[in-house]
Symmetry: C2
Subunit: 693 residues, 2 copies
Amino acid sequence: NYVRYTQKIWAHVREIATLALVAIVLGLVAGTLQIGTETLVNWKSGHCARNWFLNRSFCCAAVKDDTKGRLVVRDELECVEQGIWVAWQNPFGAFLLFMTLSLVFGLLSAILVRYVAPMAGGSGISEIKVWVSGFKYKDEFLGLKTLIIKSIALPLAISSGLSVGKEGPSVHYATCIGFVVTNLLSSRSMHFSEQTEYLIAASAGGVSVAFGSPIGGVLFALEEMCTNRAFNLSIMWKSYFIALAAVTTLQYMDPFRNGKIVLFEVTYDNQWLFSEIPVFVLLGVFGGLYGHFISNWNIHFVSFRRKYLSNSKIREVLILIIMTALVSYFNEFLKLDMTESMGVLFHECSVNGGESAWSHEICQLDADTHVAVFLKIFLSLCAATIIRSILIVFSYGACVPAGIFVPSMAVGATFGRAVSLFVERFITGANVITPGTYAFLGAAATLSGITNLTLTVVVIMVELTGAFSYVIPLMIVAAVTTVILSSLGSKAGIADKMILFNGFPLLEKPKHDMTWLREYTAADVMTTSVVTMNEIISTSALKALLETYPNFSGFPVVADGTRQKLRGYASRSRLMITLITNENDGPSVDILRDTKTLGTQDDESRLTEFRKTVNELPLTVKPATPFSQLFRVFEKLGSNVVLVEEEGSFLGLISTKDLMKFQRLKEREMNGQLFNFNEERDEKLWSFIRLIF
Amino acid sequence: NYVRYTQKIWAHVREIATLALVAIVLGLVAGTLQIGTETLVNWKSGHCARNWFLNRSFCCAAVKDDTKGRLVVRDELECVEQGIWVAWQNPFGAFLLFMTLSLVFGLLSAILVRYVAPMAGGSGISEIKVWVSGFKYKDEFLGLKTLIIKSIALPLAISSGLSVGKEGPSVHYATCIGFVVTNLLSSRSMHFSEQTEYLIAASAGGVSVAFGSPIGGVLFALEEMCTNRAFNLSIMWKSYFIALAAVTTLQYMDPFRNGKIVLFEVTYDNQWLFSEIPVFVLLGVFGGLYGHFISNWNIHFVSFRRKYLSNSKIREVLILIIMTALVSYFNEFLKLDMTESMGVLFHECSVNGGESAWSHEICQLDADTHVAVFLKIFLSLCAATIIRSILIVFSYGACVPAGIFVPSMAVGATFGRAVSLFVERFITGANVITPGTYAFLGAAATLSGITNLTLTVVVIMVELTGAFSYVIPLMIVAAVTTVILSSLGSKAGIADKMILFNGFPLLEKPKHDMTWLREYTAADVMTTSVVTMNEIISTSALKALLETYPNFSGFPVVADGTRQKLRGYASRSRLMITLITNENDGPSVDILRDTKTLGTQDDESRLTEFRKTVNELPLTVKPATPFSQLFRVFEKLGSNVVLVEEEGSFLGLISTKDLMKFQRLKEREMNGQLFNFNEERDEKLWSFIRLIF
């Protein structure tokens, strides 16, 4: 009893230590990346007079003599006025520097990804989701090299001005940290399925540090990562712990030097009105349409890129950067860093507000403003919405680390702010609505649209801004977006669509009711050409078997060499381990035979060991089991292989991949191809694009 | 295809309509209850000069000429000063009225529960949890009568001054509304398991309206209601929808007349400090200890009540009210309504704050305050903590609707505020910490301790107060509480403990690892004395079979009358339905025989119908299946019955109840009784208590 107790305590301590290490490393990496990104971005617009290497926050924070050392917006403005932070003055020189630095950063990022760690490109959420649902991807995908390259290439990619966000990649490097740390601390004792719990928790930490949103991170783990597997309280607890500790570490590092983890704090003084609900619905509809079309177009472009651009990845990135920089430099909402731009758009514009230093033009529009000024701002918001959307379609999936969350939010914010200008001028008049809230809700709508998440988006948006009193409008917007998406037949977020498009193995819930699969049974799905293994087999024969069929992950064990008597299932990996540890022991013996026939005690113990490798009670179903029930067995019990058996005799084997293939085949027969790409149009696009290349 | 599409749309519309109706009714009931409770509570301290029937909020709100009509604290103070709301002046008369009204309200509540709807007593969360986990309780428990009585008795119970909260009962009446509405709108087409999704969603709505916390409600559904069943995105979506619509309805009703749904809004200007973390840990430890001991003591007292007080339920309530009123009247933190009291304790006490009308004595303590004044407040906080804890032990479970959430929070708030006074005077000095935050975090700790919820508590506390910047401290407190609870071996909240204590059927996750159950297999658990049904059986024999064994919920179907060939499983309910619809049709025929031997076409169609009642592919396991695997089958596949079969022959049957009984038996053998009550001590307590009775 004492031993059991000590073991229990020890297991607890190890768990907590593992989680804490993951979280602290994650917090440190996230903080460093944050500071690095800001430094690179700031270099494009100015420099610190005291020390060229500091970014603006650090430059301004260090000279403040306030003991708490916390920056507020006013301080930063003062800092610029006093010449501590020097913005570039010469307009032509500034433009040139802007372009040069964007290109250099982007080029570095693309080279790192292309030649050092190809796995570090893109977002990574889809692959992680597949992994934690039970299909291990390549080890390299979560390895140390990917972690390091992604952490370096991400700030470079963002500061190159491309329309890419850091959230997807944050999830990826967080999961890498989880993988590396768990392998380091407890490689021997941890099963694959146990490790996935840590990976999910790490992914929650990734969202938490990216958005400064610990609860949002936990919900992300639930709503995005666990849709294809069982969610349990142990995962929740691990996610909670990592999210908490990582965000606390980040807060301790204080990367923004303002003592806050929320990106853009706002304080909306006015309550929302019930008469605003139609506007919320409009924003929700926009979010749904945005999510549906942008993700489809992006997938089209990804397919196009594979076909035509796979050999010129770096050139593609460079062209994208040039186009982005050229278009963005002349639109004030596109030129700003996306988070900065959202800060401007979300702002409450209150006249009596405490921060009187705030005086952006967009807040000084009222009924008396000249129509030309109004139009200028209104149209530049609309232009920003459209251009950013187009840029996202082309940028997401390029050969740099790239997330789609923040760019999507930026699109929603400009759209929402445009709506607010319209409403304020033509419907309500001044000082009735809080225009910033529309930008904020618009951002929630597009984020919800592209990810197809509801609760997570609501919580992230609240945590991101502290705009607590707008929970109900947020929920309305996210609900409308979900309804729109679902009525467009687009029930999956972009991560799931990418999984489908790439043909990653993942059990999807059938989109339509499974009625059309009702007629099929396990007998239709099973593979009958299976290599079985005799119950009595010598070590050498076993070795030969394993060598002859290197792709088989296991073998059904039968008696008497016939399929009449199923004895169990032996998985390749366990057979291998046992073989290796027994390799040098004496001559070949029949290893799975009854104990009686064996001579020495040594043989007997070896037999026991081999016995253990055989699962004598594998999951079995009858051949007549209907498809829906079979599906439930795979889905709920999380098994990879099911044997088909009737009255003791072995008939066939069904792996998750068999099931999936069958399902996709039938679904395609029923509904046609998942993605129809117009070859002709692609050709035309290519003939146009090759002019630039 | 068109028909399928219409059906799909129609199903969608019906789902949305059902959810909306549940939510709107729930919002209206909650709003009415809120206003009613406030009215009753206010009557105890004063009356409205204009209209005796109005409560203070409505009395004061109606005379405000501000177009928005929203009350702030200052308005209410003005309202009292202007004599619109008249507080009782005569101290003796006030005391007498306070006692009389408390007794009358409590008596009414107890009589309603005792004689009209006994199911309306207590909290109800445990029973609902068991229900949604697959074990239907009595229909009456969620019926219209229970709904009505609980809605009337709840305001009465709260205004009687007892230490009971409205949150548990809110969940209960919300679930009643869900049950009544779903039965009304779609009685025929809804399966039990589908209805439970609506019930869970309704329970989420109950928490949402009780705390004004829509997201907290959804998380409650996940973290409390779904621990023993699979949680899926469909449940989340339903919960989200009901929570949103119910809270919006509530907000529209505006029961507090201040335009807010949060109960006690606070704005903590100062950030928390890293050096405060030890205090957060202390508060978390208190929460854990509180949760562990109070729930155990309460269960002891419930057992005591069953034994000695079951015949004097109403007298018990009256004595409780008198004792509560007598003790509370002279402690300012106990005398106030619990929510009002927490409002005082949570308050930020900021000197520069906007609401200068705030001037409670507790906010004017500083280093210069005379030690006597300090001690008076400090000790009255400590006394309130202890007395309230004791009152909770005796009150929760009495014969009135009673929740334990808010009383627990009140205990934590007084404790936390006492800690803040201590810290401010002896450690930090004035103006370093924000004292109100300790009360707020203390409330979170006790709430988390009594419910054993983490994420839900964090979200509810944030939504309840809007104290968004304290998410990290909140998460730390809740995490510490969970760790303390788990290291005390108390892994369940009070709802789960009540389920165990009452012996309700619910598959608990084994508390300790299942290693000690490793040696048991399906053969140990199964019942072999099962009545089987022959494949060939006449209608009359079938009828006889059903009548002879009225308690059997189904029969394994075998061939040839022996157990050699298992054919399937026929559930009682489906057999009954088929029998009834076929009763008057011709003579008895062999109903499950092969089609060939039957004469008429009519017989044939009848045969097909009976065939359908037999599940030819019931869930089966082998006798050697280990316990842990068996457990997983029940847990994950949510099945009620599993057949034990070896090579086609039937060996025995395992129902969920068999599994549960076996598990509890073995657990008791291993760890002793779950609850050990000291008979002797109970006797002594009784001999003391009977003096009062």
